[in-house]
């Protein structure tokens, strides 16, 4: 099970200082399970000599609202030898608690042979039904996360790898004191056809948005049509029913349109990523951290005339947009930071592609809707793209537990 050619320098570097350690380096983008085990094996041997372990822990963001998405991640659990259930193999274990006894029901066990974990306190697996949102149950104030690691090796060697703690704060938010990162502004445009554009902005300069090196906006669209009756009704439309934007590939656009309710990520068929890029009108990638705070923004103005066709019997077309803020890289990598909605509406046959844009639709800090998630999942499958996931569990961060 233990590969012979794992470079020892990786482990030495990672454990060169007792206490905080540097992230483990790997020769591939993310270590495979096999490679991870082999690292642990080597690490275990070194531990036996040095008696040094380094657990890491972080909570991102460190301040937020009750019910917020606090991402807790910890790492650095080291096996004392080849890890597994075979004879002679070792196991690891870890436990995460919040405020100890205060939340007695919360105890998150780390799987054997895992070196770390990542959980979202707004949706913790394994909790009693109705209590999955742990952050919903916490009162305002400072809370302490404790991460403890253990290692077991035959015949009876049990080693306490110690504990590391980190705090985060839940603050009350009367009147939105934490701030609202979203703004959707109707921008008048004189260029024909004259009418408003929608400027969508997510400003990360509020307390509970985590640091993020690259913050992007991802927009989905559900196309609906008012069908003549009787009775009149709204139906979901496909691109085959109302055409695709000029220049786009119909087959590719249809391929990323979900089954009803029909939603797709709102980028052209030639785009390589699912988010607004520099080609989008007024685009700017957001950032928070290292002394720089910059909004993520773009402007949209659909233009949808009746050419070359709109399916017979459709008298009105609506585009229902959902925009989600997403952190592509940085400490908040992989986190959904909130969503907003807007609506474009046009009566078929109206002169000069006349349209209207809704205002004052809701926005929040929650995760994307299930419709959006279906669309982004399908887009990733079809276009062979993977949105960045949560970072590897850290092997540094946190501090001593009092």
């Amino acid at each position: 099970m233990r590969p012979a050619n794992v470079p020892l320098r990786f482990a030495r570097r990672a454990f060169s200082a007792c206490g905080r350690v540097a992230p483990q380096e790997t020769p591939t983008s993310r270590p495979s399970a096999l490679l991870r085990l082999s690292h642990l094996a080597v690490v275990g041997l070194l531990i036996a000599f040095s008696e040094c372990w380094a657990l890491g822990l972080q909570v991102v963001p460190s301040v937020g609202r009750s019910g917020g998405h606090f991402i807790v991640s910890g790492g650095g659990i080291a096996s004392l030898g080849p890890c597994g259930f075979e004879v002679g193999e070792c196991q690891t274990d870890g436990t995460v608690t919040i405020d100890g006894y205060v939340l007695g029901t919360f105890s998150y066990g780390i799987g054997v042979c895992e070196s770390g974990f990542t959980i979202d306190l707004a949706n913790v697996p394994g909790q009693p039904t109705g209590s999955e949102c742990v952050s919903c149950l916490l009162s305002t104030g400072v809370h302490t996360v404790t991460f403890s690691g253990y290692a077991f090796c035959p015949p009876n060697q049990e080693t306490d790898l110690g504990s590391v703690c980190a705090t985060f704060e839940i603050v009350s938010d009367p009147g939105g004191a934490l701030g609202d990162p979203w703004s959707l502004d109707s921008v008048p445009i004189a260029n024909p056809p004259p009418g408003p554009g929608q400027k969508i902005t997510f400003s990360p300069d509020v307390q509970d948005v985590p640091p993020c090196d690259s913050l992007v906006l991802i927009q989905s669209c559900r196309m609906r049509g008012r069908q003549t009756g009787p009775p009149e009704s709204w139906i979901d439309l496909s691109f085959a029913q109302i055409g695709v934007p000029d220049g786009d590939d119909l087959a590719l656009m249809e391929a990323v349109l979900t089954p009803p309710p029909r939603v797709s990520i709102d980028v052209g068929s030639s785009e390589e990523v699912p988010f607004a890029t520099s080609i989008a009108l007024g685009h700017q990638t957001g950032r928070k951290g290292s002394g720089i705070t910059r909004s993520a923004t773009f402007m949209d103005r659909p233009f949808w005339n009746d050419e070359p066709f709109i399916a017979p019997g459709i008298t009105r077309v609506q585009f229902e947009f959902e925009v989600n803020a997403f952190c592509v890289s940085g400490a908040g990598q992989g986190q959904w930071l909130g969503k907003s909605f807007w609506l474009w509406d046009r009566t078929v046959g109206s002169p000069y592609a006349e349209y209207s844009i809704s205002e004052h639709l809701p926005h929040d800090r929650g995760h994307p809707t299930s419709d959006f998630m279906r669309a982004i999942t399908l887009w990733q499958q079809v276009r062979k793209y993977t949105l960045p996931g949560l970072p590897e569990p850290p092997t540094e961060g946190g501090g001593p537990c009092n």
Binding site: I189, N191, P192, V267, S270, E272, I279
Partner: protein, 309 residues
């Protein structure tokens, strides 16, 4: 031939624009006709005149999400998209011109070459709106104190002819050529001829893939393309790096495919001189940045000869 557009009196005045937004749209009666200049006016311009010319590409068709326009100006001449305000044709979508465009500089020689090459495409120089046209190609010059504007709105077919000429004229302007290519790709107006797929004629190996120890999120490897056929492969030889999974991005100077699947995959042209003979190989080091550290997989394909990648 009647070259008539519509000039809107209301331009970028915030107050007036707000009024416009409030009433949703201007009544047609408030518009005045604006005459465009013929293409020959621009062919007759001297190099000195061309120092103030601007070339604009605007997507004016059906769209769910806006796309920036592209503005080309002589090096040293500040691009100014507002000069085009008012030179609008009825029924077209010029909303994408309301936001700052992408832009690049070109030499006077390149601009002259652009005009000369496009002059070979009557379907463009006629200055009309093609049936189903959705890409505006516009020229503007204020030389001599008179504003002259030419515009043709091309469809996919004539757009391919236009972009072929633009890319030829800008072949030595790497930034400009890339921006025009990207615009044409998104608009679906690049030439549609495809290069030869070398599947079965070459072997492609990828070796030495590792993280670059000097740069945290950079990964590097070497690709070797070997001609396993009995005949010489003609240039250009393009290596396409197709994403199978992940979100890593290629770091080296590259372009993205548009005409061969998968679309928007990075590709590089390999140096093979006059050709890659039977049994011969060419190597290419490629680098990726992968800050997320998510797993990523790529595959390789090779194409050769003329045609749009």
């Amino acid at each position: 031939m009647q070259l008539v557009g519509i000039r809107f009196e209301a331009l970028r005045s915030p107050i007036l624009a707000s009024v416009i937004a409030g009433v949703a749209c201007l009544p047609i009666s408030s518009l005045t006709a604006q005459t465009f200049s013929p293409y020959t006016d621009f062919q007759a311009m001297t190099p000195a005149d061309l120092a103030t010319i601007q070339v604009k590409l605007t997507y004016v068709g059906k769209q769910r999400v806006g796309q920036s326009s592209l503005l080309i100006a002589a090096i040293g001449n500040d691009p100014n998209i507002e000069l085009f305000d008012g030179y609008w044709r009825a029924g077209m979508n010029y909303g994408n011109d309301a936001v700052a465009p992408a832009s690049f500089g070109a030499s006077v020689n390149e601009l002259e070459a652009m005009i000369d090459h496009v002059a070979l495409v009557p379907a463009v120089t006629d200055g009309d709106v093609d049936p189903g046209g959705y890409v505006s190609f516009a020229l503007l010059n204020t030389a001599g104190g008179t504003t002259r504007v030419f515009e043709a709105i091309v469809n996919r077919q004539n757009g391919a002819l236009l972009f072929e000429k633009l890319l030829i004229a800008l072949q030595s302007n790497s930034v400009g050529n890339r921006l025009v290519w990207d615009f044409g790709c998104r608009a679906g107006t690049l030439p549609t001829a495809v290069p030869e797929d070398l599947a079965g004629r070459v072997s492609i190996t990828f070796s030495g893939f590792r993280r670059d120890p000097s740069e945290g999120a950079t990964f590097v490897g070497r690709v070797r393309v070997t001609n396993t056929s009995g005949s010489t492969i003609v240039p250009p030889l393009s290596l396409v790096i197709a994403r199978e999974r992940g979100n890593a991005q290629m770091l080296d100077d590259h372009r993205n495919t548009c005409n061969i699947p998968p679309a928007r995959s990075p590709y590089v042209d390999l140096f093979i001189g006059a050709g890659l003979g039977p049994g011969a190989s060419v190597d290419q080091v490629i680098r990726f940045t992968n800050p997320s550290r998510d797993k990523f997989d790529v595959t390789f394909r090779a194409f050769s000869g003329p045609g749009t990648r």
